[in-house]
């Protein structure tokens, strides 16, 4: 068993070194945005970030813009509520409605202008942060005829938003001109337990993402399928999986394992030989057993004497 421990230790060291070497390079690139693109863009220009919103007070109450434009513009309102309060306007989304050849309509070029909190709202928000309560937003379920069937509601603990300013992140899931859901929250992590922290600046830093549903990966392997059909037909409808090509290890492991055991035994025996008999190889083996000597305990000490 002692020998086994030593071997295990060596094995562990090797494993560790492999692990370290494989993950030695670590990019410090922030991958959040990239990941969004990766998930999102399948050649569709759905994605618009409006980095910092400008305060806009005049858009209140305006719901739809002129239809006269050929590429019609659509506006819909973001509404928010503090705790149990009623919903009130908080910002405006503007997008371009694109009509496809097959009749479907999708939104592109989404822009967002966020209204800054009024003083009353600031107080309400502070209250929410104090109580660790929910800040709630909603969007109409249909952008052409708001509010549509109902509102898509989303909530977040108010303590998740404050950083420097107020960081927020919208993901709007669309199905044609219908909003299926809006996911609202902080752009990054929200530590738990949530810290009581008020924003230093009352300006919003908004990120918005528009998502349409993606298609399931289709079968990329049609030729293989046809091939398989052919072989299956040859065998009169009997689908027989060809026996998988086995690796050398899989084939001969039953011989290799006993061989390995024998070799290892031989090695450890050679290593455990008393130093008197091992005159030549002393310098090589001296460094190794030092660590193991502690575990070996008194018996090895006796042998050394």
């Amino acid at each position: 068993m002692r020998r086994g421990k030593l071997q295990g230790y060596i094995f562990y060291c090797i494993c560790l070194s492999i692990l370290v070497s494989s993950s030695a390079f670590q990019s410090d690139e922030l991958l959040i945005e990239d990941e969004e693109f990766g998930l999102e863009s399948r050649g569709s220009p759905d994605l618009v970030y409006s980095a910092r919103s400008t305060p806009q007070a005049s858009t209140h109450g305006r719901k739809r813009s002129s239809n006269s434009d050929s590429d019609s513009k659509v506006q819909f309102l973001l509404e928010h509520a503090f705790g149990d309060s009623d919903f009130s306007t908080a910002g405006t989304f503007t997008a371009r409605l694109k009509t496809w050849n097959h009749g479907g309509q999708t939104l592109t070029k989404l822009r967002f202008s966020r209204n800054d909190f009024t003083d009353v709202e600031k107080e309400q928000f502070k209250e929410l942060v104090k109580e660790d309560d929910f800040y709630r937003i909603r969007l109409p379920s249909n952008v052409l005829s708001p509010p549509g069937r109902d509102y898509a509601i989303s909530s977040v603990k108010a303590r998740c938003l404050p950083r420097e300013g107020l960081d927020e992140h919208f993901v709007i899931h669309m199905e044609g001109t219908n909003i299926v859901a809006v996911n609202y929250g902080s752009p990054g992590a929200c530590q738990y337990p949530r810290q009581l922290k008020f924003p230093t600046k009352w300006s919003f830093n908004s990120h918005t993402v528009l998502k349409n549903s993606e298609q399931a990966p289709s079968f990329p392997r049609a030729p293989v399928f046809a091939e398989e059909m052919l072989t299956a037909e040859n065998l009169e409808g009997e689908v027989v999986l060809p026996p998988p090509e086995r690796s050398f290890w899989a084939k001969y492991w039953m011989y290799l394992i006993p061989l390995g055991i024998i070799v290892m035994n031989a090695i450890t025996q050679a290593m455990n030989m008393p130093p008197e008999e091992q005159a030549g190889g002393q310098s090589a083996s001296q460094t190794q057993p030092q660590a193991a000597a502690v575990q070996r305990g008194p018996s090895s000490a006796v042998r050394r004497r």
Binding site: G8, L31, R149, K157, G185, P193, S247, I257
Partner: protein, 982 residues
């Protein structure tokens, strides 16, 4: 250490073989199979050719079965499809069973001895009407006996030899509601019905050719309510629309004569509404008013008189013609724990042909139906046997006042399943005597040894097999080391709770719950679900585990609910709470109080949540976790999923500190015009995940995104929500969602264009597998989605791990934006699927198998490795080492991997998996009309020896070796001595 590593490696390699199979002699050792038929609706006795006494029954589970009258065994059994309900059943020509099913549209004839189908005919028709079937023995067209069928607005005469329609008469276009078809004489058929509910019509039909001979009408304002019951050749009885008058209609030579009698004239106390019992009696009608059952006779002038009345729950059978032209019927009365069976003569009420008292198990409830059959006694008098259907759907045969056999047919309609551990074996607990004697034990081992050494004769082999099957070890009533022995607690549709032993499936105890809750305020209690209420663990080891049964008083969601707490060892009711708020959801919480009672939150239809158990301690525990209580509701018809958080107490008029209000947090609105929710699936609450990390081939690690708050939702376009083939690929589409139920965040959303439901899905660990139909490919497909957490991906740096700069121990918040990647892949699958489940083991180490209930009512085990989105057509060397299989278009179906081997679980409805204590093993219980139970080891039993491991052989080998050592030692000593003396 190294050796241990090698052993582990060895085990891994040996488990790498994908399929496993059962040898023929292993069948029945760890599995059992029980066949049921369901609640009997109709029964037809067949006693001709006296050798085989049989009864043919049809049931509410759409089963037609032929049962042995002596023992209750099934001779043959046919399970019709779920939409093919049997309306009527008859025996024709003495050799065919005729069934009318699917609301009178399919008429089939089955061969009586073996249940083979003889012919089948489809009876078309558009209008809905009642379905009637009668076999005419006295009407012959040619040499043929005629079957008269009224269904879908047509009267048809069908040949009983080949099922051909001889003639048909259309009654569908005359705004006529046909009530009854009778044949008083062999040359007349009367079709009776109401036109616009006030005109009574009689059509006289010639049975030879279906010609209309006469049509007469009579005005009858108001119409009748309920059925028109024929009581003799030309007299019928019905109740008028107000249900206060009894109407008798007599037909004489086509003339209609209607008489009305007030029920109050007959009976003094007749305040309630009357119902005519559907029994066909001769010259008599049975009425049910309030709790009374009243028999009213009619004389030839249409005069009515009360014959008798019973105030106990009473059931009446149909009249049976016995020899000498007489008729008899049975009246069965319930009184306390006894039932009185009286067989009355049709002519004289005061003559009791049989009068018996039988003791009845109160757990069977009240009698629902009775069918009688006569036989000739040894003294040549008439004897009667009664087939009784009870409230718990069990079927009994009573003869000479004794229960000859009984069948627990409630088990054919299981609603919910849970499990319970058996008591720990100790001195106080009574244990069945297990080993008979040392001699028996030795004998058994000698036999086994013989078997192993191939010395056993054929009788010995049979004895060994019998010994293995009837091992008393497996039906012990105590806990075993491996956790194979458990109690399966099932709730049936009849509201009965039964505990089945996993060893052989026998019923340990049963409890009829609905009878406990039945009262004036709760007319038809139904059981909904069962939960483990108390699982004694650390603190409360001495207490028995208990089960929570949640039920509802009516069929609608708004009706008030009830809870029962039942001891899992004895089946006694501990407590019950009844008739309070409605029940729409029951959420078992991950907290228990000091007596190990699990906290449950019950959400009512008003959105209030109610906490159980109702004690101070539970409130205390709950209040600590108050702000982290989220729940969601799925409104499938509105296409909305809503999220809620618990907030504050209810503000009701009545103060209730166990009632909590919730706040609406999020909503996901599926556009009604394009998506309709058809399936939602979540992870099992008690699922154990061994590790979050998954080492992949190139020494990299992927982290599974494991969240208990995920829901899988599948929606289809409304046009495609019908049957397969009812929509084109262009207009159908399937969308799947993975939604976080705390924040309402859509983690993944994917469309499968040209696909449609039904969708069957299973969610486990970080993956979902779902099954649907691809209209473009004309095939079923199975897809897998796996979710991986990217936020933990940087934890691979060992230095960081050492310095503690990792986020592995940081609490996860749903409000953080998840950094996940999903992988997905799709495969073809041959079978239509009825249910999917996944194996679950105690620690979650063993690899998983999917259990697929196929359309052929079998259970197929499919390795999860076949559904791995990382499969590629040509896996690299490192991927091969990891065990990734090359990608194929369709999932292989290996015949050996049918868990249910040669058996069928007819009418398969669900598969339940329960972990055993032994990590490698999982217990699988499949239910439908049949029950099937087995043990599975998805990676083989790597942690234990097989059951038939011969310890005796091992012992003998050791003894022999020791002996050999001694012998050789002595020999060598001797030799040494000799050499020294040389």
């Amino acid at each position: 250490m190294a050796i241990r590593v090698f052993v582990l490696l060895l085990l891994f390699l040996s488990s790498a073989k994908l399929n496993f199979a059962l040898y023929e002699d292993q069948v029945g050792i760890m599995d059992w199979h029980q066949q049921y038929i369901g609640k009997v609706k109709h029964a037809v006795f067949h006693t001709q050719k006296a050798g085989r006494k049989r009864v043919v029954v049809s049931t509410e589970e759409n089963v037609i079965a032929s049962l042995d009258l002596r023992r209750g065994d099934i001779f043959w059994r046919l399970v019709l499809g779920p939409n093919d309900a049997v309306d009527e059943i008859e025996v024709a020509l003495g050799k065919y069973v005729i069934t009318l099913s699917s609301e009178g549209s399919i008429l089939r004839a089955w061969n009586l001895p073996d249940g083979q189908m003889v012919w089948e005919s489809f009876l078309q028709g558009s209008s809905l009407s009642k379905s009637l079937l009668s076999i005419q023995t006295n009407v012959k067209v040619g040499k043929d006996n005629v079957i008269l069928v009224f269904s879908k607005g047509f009267l048809r005469a069908v040949s009983s030899i080949d099922g051909e329609v001889l003639w048909e008469k259309d009654f569908s276009d005359k705004s006529l509601e046909v009530k009854n078809v009778i044949q008083p004489q062999s040359d007349i058929i009367y079709v009776m019905g109401f036109a616009s509910s006030s005109q009574f019509n009689i059509y006289q039909i010639n049975p030879k050719n279906g010609e209309l001979q006469k049509h007469s009408t009579a005005a009858f304002p108001g119409g009748i309510s309920g059925e028109l019951t024929s009581i003799s050749g030309d007299t019928l009885v019905a109740l008028d629309a107000t249900r206060s008058k009894l109407v008798s209609i007599t037909i004489q030579n086509g003339e209609i004569n209607i008489q009305k009698t007030h029920i109050s004239d007959l009976l003094v106390d007749s305040s309630g509404l009357a119902i005519i019992l559907p029994s066909k009696l001769d010259g008599m009608v049975a009425l049910k008013i309030n709790a009374f059952t009243v028999f009213v006779s009619l004389n030839s002038e249409g005069k009515m008189a009360i014959v008798d009345s019973f105030n106990q729950p009473t059931v009446v059978s149909d009249a049976l013609s016995i020899a000498e032209g007489g008729q008899a019927f049975a009246v069965v009365q319930h009184e306390g724990s006894k039932i009185h069976i009286m067989v009355k003569s049709g002519h004289d009420w005061n003559v009791n042909l049989v009068k018996d008292n039988t003791e009845m198990d109160p757990q069977r409830g009240l009698i629902q139906k009775v069918f009688i059959n006569n036989y000739i006694r040894t003294d040549r008098s008439h004897g009667f046997r009664a087939l009784i259907v009870m409230e718990d759907h069990s079927l009994l045969l009573v003869q000479q006042g004794e229960i000859v056999w009984s069948r627990e047919d409630g088990l054919a309609s299981i609603v919910d399943v849970t499990t319970s551990e058996l008591p720990v074996e100790k001195d106080g607990v009574s244990v069945k005597k297990v080993e008979h004697s040392l001699f028996e034990w030795l004998k058994g081992h000698m036999l086994k040894l013989k078997g192993t050494l191939m010395l056993a004769s054929s009788e010995d082999v049979i004895a060994i097999q019998a010994m293995r099957l009837k091992s008393s070890e497996k039906i012990k009533m105590t806990r075993d080391h491996n956790g194979f022995r458990k109690l399966l607690i099932v709730l049936t549709k009849a509201g009965k709770l039964l505990a089945l032993h996993t060893g052989d499936g026998h019923v340990v105890w049963s409890l009829l719950l609905t009878s406990l809750h039945k009262s004036a305020t709760c007319q038809n209690p139904t059981g909904l679900n069962i939960y483990q209420w108390q699982v004694p663990h650390h603190h409360a080891m001495d207490e028995n585990p208990s089960i929570l049964v949640v039920g509802r008083c009516g069929i609608t969601v708004n009706s008030s609910g009830f809870l029962s707490f039942v001891d899992a060892y004895t089946g006694r009711k501990i407590n019950s709470v009844g008739f309070f708020h409605s029940i729409s959801q029951v959420l078992p919480l991950p907290y228990t109080d000091s007596t190990e009672q699990r906290l449950h939150l019950i959400i009512d239809t008003n959105g209030f949540s109610h906490l159980y158990p109702r004690n101070r301690e539970a409130i205390g525990i709950f209040q600590n976790e108050f702000s982290n209580m989220y729940w969601y509701s799925v409104e499938a018809n509105n296409g909305i999923i809503k999220g809620h958080v618990i907030k504050g107490k209810c503000n009701l008029e009545v103060e209730d500190e166990y009632c909590f209000n919730s706040e609406h947090l999020w909503s996901v609105l599926f556009p009604l015009e394009s998506e309709k929710i058809i399936t939602t699936t979540t992870r099992k609450l008690n699922e154990v995940v061994h590790t979050q990390a998954k080492a992949i081939g190139d020494h990299d690690v992927m982290y599974k995104y494991i969240s208990k708050n995920l829901i899988f939702v599948a929606t289809v376009s409304p046009k495609a929500s019908g049957d397969i083939g009812s929509s084109t690929p262009e207009e159908s589409g399937l969308v799947v969602y993975l939604i976080d139920t705390v924040t309402g965040r859509i983690l993944h959303r994917m469309t499968h264009p040209g696909s449609q439901g039904p969708v069957h899905a299973v969610f486990s660990e970080n993956w979902v597998v779902y099954h649907y139909f691809n209209l473009r490919a004309h095939r079923y497909e199975m897809s897998v989605i796996e979710i991986y957490d990217q936020s933990r991906a940087d934890n691979k740096d060992v230095l960081k791990l050492v310095l503690g700069k990792h986020n592995l121990s940081a609490p996860i918040s749903s409000y953080s934006r998840p950094e996940i990647i999903t992988k997905s892949q799709t495969y073809f699958f041959t079978h239509t699927v009825k249910a999917i489940a996944v194996t679950s083991t105690a620690k979650g180490i063993t690899s998983k198998q999917l259990l697929v209930g196929t359309i052929g009512d079998q259970v197929l085990a499919l390795d999860k490795r076949f559904l791995d989105p990382r499969r590629t057509v040509n896996p690299t060397q490192s991927e091969k080492e990891e065990g990734i299989l090359p990608l194929t278009d369709s999932l292989p179906i290996i015949p050996e991997s049918y868990v249910s081997h040669a058996l069928k679980v007819e009418g398969l409805k669900g598969i339940v998996t329960v972990p055993a204590k032994l990590e490698s093993t999982t217990l699988v219980f499949t239910y439908g009309v049949d029950l099937f139970y087995t043990r599975l080891a998805p990676s083989k039993t790597y942690d234990s020896l097989t059951e038939d491991f011969s310890y005796a052989l091992l012992l003998i080998t050791i003894v022999a070796l020791i002996a050999a050592i001694f012998v050789t030692w002595i020999l060598s000593e001797r030799k040494e001595l000799q050499e020294k003396w040389r």
